[in-house]
């Protein structure tokens, strides 16, 4: 596969996996406005995934289609960040009375969209014109995602004692997963080399500024990093992606010859 196709799949997998997760709140949100807002975020992400998979299918040629790429690739072929496949619950037991924790959802959307405003901004200059066009469209969407999640991060951090504790726990849980953003992967380096991709490590200072600024406003403490750096973008995932994909792909795979 070409470097460009691999890079497009990495971006598409990110979008589809987080889109799938965000949609899980549909009908179950804390207030109807949030059901709508998260459905909107999900819809944007699925839309981005479609454009990216379509472009990957063009690059790959043959019988590749957006749905073949989304529905008929197995777990280790997915190149999304591990952060995005985690369920909506905090690792810190004791706060999470329910299996869906809105604080976790908000923190993840914040950490990821803070990265993607920078990535999409830079990718507007991609040498792949289609990707540059997708980036321009996605940038507008992700700016809204960042505003939405940042506003809630502050509300929850600077809200009640309980909400502060919950969102801090979610932050402590999720922040280590962002280390994956800054590691090298052969897919990314190849795309950077051809001018198609952006060097994510070069965006780190800007991301830190965005994140630290919001955390300060939210009165949250950024945890020191120690430990394990995930490798989802290299195809090495957590135990959660398998369940997500088996549900997502179940119907499509039960009817491999069907058109929907």
């Amino acid at each position: 596969m070409s470097a460009t196709a691999n890079y497009l799949l990495h971006l598409a997998d990110n979008a589809v996996v987080l889109g799938q997760r965000n949609a899980e709140w549909c009908g179950h949100g804390p207030v109807i406005e949030e059901d709508i807002a998260l459905a909107n975020v999900s819809l944007d992400l699925i839309g981005q995934a479609r454009l990216l998979y379509q472009q990957a299918a063009v690059v790959l040629g043959g019988d590749a289609t957006e749905d073949k790429l989304a529905y008929f690739r197995d777990e280790p072929e997915f190149r999304n960040y591990t952060l995005l496949e985690l369920p909506h619950r905090s690792a810190l037991v004791g706060y999470a009375k329910s299996d869906m924790d809105y604080g976790t959802t908000i923190v993840r959307n914040f950490l990821y969209s803070a990265l993607m405003v920078l990535v999409w901004e830079a990718l507007q200059q991609s040498k792949d014109e289609q990707l540059a066009a997708i980036a321009a469209k996605s940038l507008k969407e992700v700016r809204y995602h960042l505003r939405h999640s940042r506003d809630w991060l502050i509300r929850l951090g600077d809200g009640t004692d309980e909400s502060h504790a919950r969102v801090q726990a979610a932050l402590d849980h999720l922040m280590p997963y962002t280390e994956e953003f800054w590691t090298d992967s052969s897919i990314e380096s190849a795309a950077v080399a051809t001018g198609v991709g952006v060097s994510v490590p070069s965006l780190r200072a800007q991301w830190d500024a965005l994140v630290n600024d919001a955390l300060a406003e939210a009165t949250l403490v950024r945890p020191a990093f120690e430990g394990y750096i995930t490798e989802g973008k290299q195809g090495l995932h957590s135990e959660h992606l398998g369940f997500l994909l088996s549900e997502m792909q179940s119907l499509a795979r039960a009817h491999p010859n069907a058109t929907w």
């Binding site: 207030v31 949030e34 699925i46 997502m248 058109t259």
Partner: protein
Amino acid sequence: PELMAKFDARIDADGRIEPQDWMPDAYRKTLVRQISQHAHSEIVGMLPEGNWISRAPSLKRKAILIAKVQDEGGHGQYLYSAAETLGVSRADLLDALHSGKAKYSSIFNYPTLNWADVGTIGWLVDGAAIMNQVPLCRCSYGPYSRAMIRVCKEESFHQRQGYEALLVMMRGTDEQKAMVQDSVNRWWWKCLAMFGPPDADSPHSAQGMRWGIKRVSNDDLRQKFIDATVPQAKVLGITLPDPDLKWNEERGHYDYGQIDWDEFWTTVNGNGPCNKERLSTRVKAHNDGQWVRDAALAHARKQQQRAMKEAA
């Protein structure tokens, strides 16, 4: 009495009543009941279709479905707003839903059992809802009639999308066709019941008609729905599960079989297959979200206090 006369005159002239206008208490109560029931239906109605979002068989269908469920949330939101113009709070309306006092459309107490149900709900359930709702676009209460204009527009779009999804499936594999037929078999009679009991047994109709809140009778709407749907079913290539369904030249309408009203009332009275589950899902979402709403409120208060301190 003078106010009453003015109100009656406005109604008779097919004019609109607005929030600031005087209105009889019974009119207000009837509207609150009807609008909130409709809002609740939109919110609960997100669940049966939402059940298939994670498994939608293509990204395009997934996007369409999310957008549709999102629209339902939007309808709920502005119907709650319309109800609020009558002096009730959303919190009170939700309490009434969660305690089981308020009703929502009984159709959502049936399960979605295969992917075709998503299409069928668009085609038949939304189709029946539109039949019920189009007359309400001319309803006498301004905010409600304006909300219904927007709702109906979007629902019509959903209906076409649902029908189109079924058409694609009917052109597909045998399994896909079987899914559609199975789905229509399960939903058809339930959709006919959505128009409510026969006119003879319908308690609220007369007063509702008088006030321009209800504009066409249950049986007339049901007939209209059947007459519109039978040709669509033919194009689709599925069989509607009613052996008595046939064109009556004399009446200029389709005749149809007996609706199982016992089943309808059982479900309305809380004992359908999913009543408890739908309600408890909503209650759980509300309870689980309490800390989030509390946080938003606490933060807003802190912001306000900080602003006041700065101003002082």
